[in-house]
């Protein structure tokens, strides 16, 4: 692995007192004031995040919609210009190469937002699976991303862009300016709260961060690191690539079958997904709450009450909103049924947990 990369906002995080860690090849803030405080402030007020590590890959040219549709499970041909869509991108065996956001910029023009850890391999994968003649550009280092999330985010972003953001619906985006700096404002996020993601030229990221930070800070909001980003998404059962999903898991197993459009023309991974749908799933990603003490962590084994291995933990943490320890894991069917008692092997001590309905936290999920 080469030397970790600083985002354009590195100096600002350090002067805010952030604890910096390496994540997916980037130096990122893991927390500022503390994970619980940051988490609760996003749920109740607002938080601002540097997500400049995320990758942006642009795909355009004649035939781009059909070619891209062949690569992802959701339907990007039906996607309207000005809207975004969440979709997995699968291997021929239906494992997940990455889970991405697709923005439609024009009839034959898209922006894909990919996970930081997958930028290079996604770019290679896309180039390798697209017909010649399309323009495919990795602009990850040219573009910074600042998110504002929480119930007060509409007021903050609205003031920054000097317009009413009430009209922008969930998963819509538009071009705007913040202090004359062109930005793309998207009503999306990874927290379960109403929120916005603001894409900006990396060279101007500092000014945009400052404008949004001052407004956020002015109403009692806080900067938020990767630690709280993880607990916020976990309460919503949003998958984290590399933890909950990867090339060994399928979208159906992960419980994101709503992103698989079997009625569209063929796409990479369709046949095994159809087979899995017909034959039924052997395991499913389920949420559970610890009954006994102990925090479930990625990699812990899950056993049934007779001691037989039935799965493994993919994500787990203390949930600041619920005050309980929660986790996600693939469980052999039918142990995934709500109410099933399972045992999580916490450092050789079996600890009781119960499978529950997800998301753990019931939120409206934006506008």
């Amino acid at each position: 692995m080469s030397k970790p990369i600083d985002t354009p906002l590195y100096d600002r995080h350090v002067s805010l007192g952030a604890k910096m860690v390496e994540f997916a090849g980037f130096v990122m803030p893991v927390q500022y004031t503390g994970i619980i405080d940051e988490h609760v402030t996003v749920r109740e007020n607002a938080g601002i995040f540097d997500l400049s590590h995320m990758g942006e890959i642009f795909v355009s040219g004649k035939g781009a919609p059909a070619a891209l549709n062949n690569l992802v499970t959701n339907d990007v041909e039906k996607l309207k210009i000005g809207k975004a869509l969440y979709t997995p991108m699968c291997t021929p065996e239906a494992g997940i190469v990455d889970d991405i956001l697709v923005y439609r910029d024009g009839d034959e023009k898209y922006m894909l937002v990919v996970n930081a850890s997958n930028i290079k391999q996604d770019y290679k994968w896309i180039v390798g699976h697209m017909p010649k003649g399309l323009e495919i550009a990795d602009r990850s280092f040219d573009i910074a991303l600042v998110a504002v999330q929480g119930p007060q985010s509409e007021a903050i972003v609205g003031e920054a862009v000097a317009q009413d953001m009430g009209e922008l619906r969930y998963y819509e985006f538009e071009n705007a300016v913040i202090d004359d700096i062109p930005v793309r404002v998207s009503r999306t996020g990874y927290t379960g709260e109403d929120g916005f993601e603001v894409y900006v030229d990396a060279a101007r990221a500092g000014e945009v961060w400052d404008a949004l930070f001052d407004l956020t800070n002015g109403i009692g909001g806080v900067p938020v690191g990767l630690g709280a980003r993880d607990t916020l998404r976990l309460e919503m059962k949003y998958c984290l690539y590399g933890n909950d999903i990867d090339e060994t898991t399928t979208p159906l197993e992960a419980g994101i079958g709503w992103t698989v459009k079997f009625d569209k023309a063929g796409f990479v991974g369709k046949a095994p997904l159809e087979k899995q749908r017909e034959q039924g799933l052997k395991r499913k990603l389920a949420g559970f709450v610890m009954v006994d003490a102990g925090v479930p962590r990625h990699g812990f084994e899950i056993i049934d009450v007779d001691g037989k291995r039935i799965g493994g933990v993919t994500s787990g943490s203390y949930s600041p909103s619920l005050g309980d320890n929660i986790g996600l894991g693939y469980l052999d069917v039918p142990h995934d049924e709500f109410g099933t008692e399972i045992l999580v092997d916490v450092r050789k001590k079996p600890r009781l947990a119960r499978v529950v309905e997800t998301p753990f936290l019931k939120l409206l999920g934006g506008k």
């Binding site: 503390g34 994970i35 003490a293 925090v295 962590r297 203390y318 450092r347």
Partner: protein, 125 residues
């Protein structure tokens, strides 16, 4: 932040020795690095612990970290208040946030521990 009357080890625990019994906890540096502490896994009274040996786990929102005994002996008391409210370790790591008390087998081991000044040097504080 690093009281003079305490002794410290390189795995970021402190010990306060009084009458052959050492109260043990984690240092301010350790609690700050860990962040919000949400769970303590501590041994039962009567457990024998060895200097440098793991005796429990302190878990923050982000991760679990083992804690190591600075001195050899037998656990004679466990801080139930901290088990019930682990945030005590963040808020008062040298006071209400102590973890266990160890009856020392060999009090001369205390000589192996660092003074506050030595520990500060060690962590670069």
């Amino acid at each position: 932040m690093y009281p003079e009357e305490l002794k410290y080890d390189e795995t970021h625990e402190w010990a306060k020795v009084e009458d052959n019994v050492a109260a043990v906890g984690i240092t301010d540096h350790a609690q700050s690095e860990l962040g919000d502490i949400v769970y303590l896994e501590l041994p039962e009274v009567g457990t024998e612990v060895k200097a440098g040996g793991e005796f429990g786990v302190v878990e923050s929102v982000k991760a679990a970290s083992e804690v190591y005994a600075p001195l050899t002996g037998k656990v004679v008391e466990v801080n139930q208040a901290a088990v019930e409210d682990p945030t005590l370790v963040n808020r008062d790591c040298y006071g209400g946030g102590w973890l266990v008390k160890i009856e020392l087998k060999d009090p001369s081991e205390v000589e192996n521990l660092k003074t506050a000044a030595e520990y500060k040097d060690f962590i670069g504080a």
